[in-house]
């Protein structure tokens, strides 16, 4: 029944999906946190930049961003991100595009998390003489992170699904393989079921595990 799978590297394709997800997740968490810090910080110019970035990037389709990294950045401007062969370049470009896009949503989630931290916490931290950086990194952000595990999980699940957009620039991940297999094999329903199952396996456990973690670490107020 499943002999149509032979000759295709199904696990390899899903492994690329997982790699895209994990690398972009780490990258957008870092960049998203930096954006959040800029957005709530005391320097007007940085605040304006971060606000503008989030509002613009959130409203551009991810497909446009990913396609632009390939056609605009790579083919027109010659950016290769330190890679030499075509596949590696496209993979790295896809990660770059995913980070640029997802970090805007991470920033939004974190900012809403900062709002859940009681004002008194920040006031007390200022009262004992902590600087802005210390208030943010020692008192506010740790509590904010614990409050936004849930929303960040949603962002991570969305990111997992968004990695399929890399198919637009030919990264050999799950959606690309699915398209190829449907063209070559006459097993539409079975092939789709296999790929649907693969994504359910990736996203449902993420939601469940992190949902449990979120409840566990949430600050009880």
């Amino acid at each position: 029944m499943f002999d149509f799978l032979e000759g295709y590297d199904l696990l390899g394709a899903f492994w690329v999906t997982v790699q895209l997800t994990l690398l972009s997740a780490v990258g957008s968490l870092v960049w998203g946190t930096v954006l959040t810090a800029m957005r709530v910080g005391p320097v007007p110019l940085l605040r304006g930049f971060a606000t503008g970035y989030v509002n613009v990037v959130r409203n551009i389709p991810l497909t446009v961003i990913i396609l632009f990294t390939s056609l605009g950045l790579s083919q027109t401007l010659g950016v290769s991100l330190g890679a030499h062969d075509f596949d590696t370049i496209n993979f790295r470009l896809a990660v770059l595009g995913l980070i640029a896009y997802t970090s805007a949503f991470v920033c939004e989630a974190l900012r809403s998390g900062i709002n859940t931290v009681p004002v008194g916490q920040a006031e007390a931290a200022r009262a004992i003489g902590l600087s802005f950086t210390q208030v943010l990194s020692l008192v506010v952000l740790p509590q904010a992170f614990r409050a936004v595990v849930g929303p960040l999980t949603n962002v991570l699940i969305a990111l997992t699904k968004n990695t399929t957009v890399a198919a637009a620039i030919g990264v050999a991940e799950a959606a690309t393989l699915m398209k190829k297999m449907i063209e070559n094999e006459a097993q539409l329903i079975l092939i789709s079921a296999v790929f649907a199952f693969g994504f359910v396996c990736l996203t449902l456990p993420t939601g469940m595990v992190l949902g449990w973690v979120g409840k566990k670490v949430a600050v009880k107020r």
Binding site: P42, N59, A158, A167, M178, T203
Partner: protein, 294 residues
């Protein structure tokens, strides 16, 4: 000071801010200079490349506007079909009968867990194998199918959250005056839930508009992004110019939708003092509508 995170600034903090601003400006200037230099190096800043968009209407009438029209058609169709479907699924998920609630819950969770692109690719193959839809129409059908399946299940969660957010007294009062379950739902709960959900629904439209671009990149659906591609081919590889114009249009379109949703939410929150439930997109996603940010 507007923020509780930092104090009114003294001389040292002010100095540090000026320093940070300076460093940021220098870094930004360096990046901009690099972009400018490499763009003009590749001839992407030549007037030739940008002329089609600013002088004459040919680029707009042949490429951009038809593409934008297709984007809007696909988004509107998807939303119009997904809304009633989502309402039905959302209500069914709240059913008292286990045999309705559980399967519908499984369907909703399933379609939310799968990427829209996978659904679109499936739809395209499905229409070419099992239907008589002409090959010109297939991409539109596939895009709408994918968007409907995904967004109906997200909307189902929004509807469910909307109904659950209503005070319990509403249902109890309806039962007390002798309304049946269907009557309670149709004439008491749903109208209030719809008002509460409006901002979340408008925000979901942004997601739909953005996702139509997938059809252009992968399924040869001639929408706005796809027209950028053909356009840059026609006007001598003005990739940067074409992409910039298309991105600006997307941002303008979605930003106005986002702003409208925010305005609506504020207005409804102010108006509805009595039952008080208004859902924003964030509320909906906090209540477990995973992936509202796709």
């Amino acid at each position: 000071m507007s923020s509780v995170l930092y104090d009114a600034q003294g001389p040292r903090a002010k100095q540090r801010n000026i320093l940070l601003t300076g460093v940021f400006l220098v870094a930004a200037a360096a990046v901009l200079w690099w972009v400018y230099a490499s763009l003009s190096d590749k001839g992407q800043l030549d007037w030739e490349k940008w002329k089609p968009f600013f002088s004459g209407t040919e680029a707009w009438t042949t490429y951009i506007l038809p593409g934008l029209k297709n984007t809007l058609i696909a988004a509107a169709l998807s939303m119009l079909i997904a809304l009633p479907l989502g309402a039905v699924l959302g209500i069914a998920r709240l059913s008292d009968h286990r045999w309705v609630r559980v399967p519908v819950g499984a369907v909703v969770e399933f379609f939310r867990a799968i990427p829209v692109l996978i659904l679109m690719i499936f739809g395209l193959a499905l229409y070419s194998e099992y239907s008589s839809v002409s090959s010109d129409d297939r991409p539109l059908y596939a895009v709408v199918t994918g968007l409907v399946l995904y967004n109906a299940s997200v909307l189902a969660e929004i509807v469910r959250a909307g109904i659950l957010s209503l005070p319990k007294g509403q249902t109890e009062a309806a039962h007390a005056i002798g309304l049946r379950k269907t009557q309670t739902m149709v004439s008491i709960l749903l109208p209030q839930a719809v008002t509460a959900m409006l901002p979340a629904i408008v925000s979901q439209l942004v997601v739909v508009v953005k996702d139509t671009a997938l059809g252009g990149a992968v399924l040869t659906f001639p929408e706005l992004l796809a027209s950028a591609n053909t356009m840059s081919g026609y006007y001598g590889a003005n990739t940067i110019a074409s992409f910039t114009v298309v991105a600006v249009i997307f941002v303008a379109l979605n930003f106005s939708l986002t702003t409208f949703a925010g305005w609506l939410e504020k207005r409804l929150r102010n108006r509805k003092k009595s039952s008080g439930a208004v859902l924003s997109a964030d509320d909906a996603s906090l209540q477990g509508a995973a992936g509202t940010t796709v």
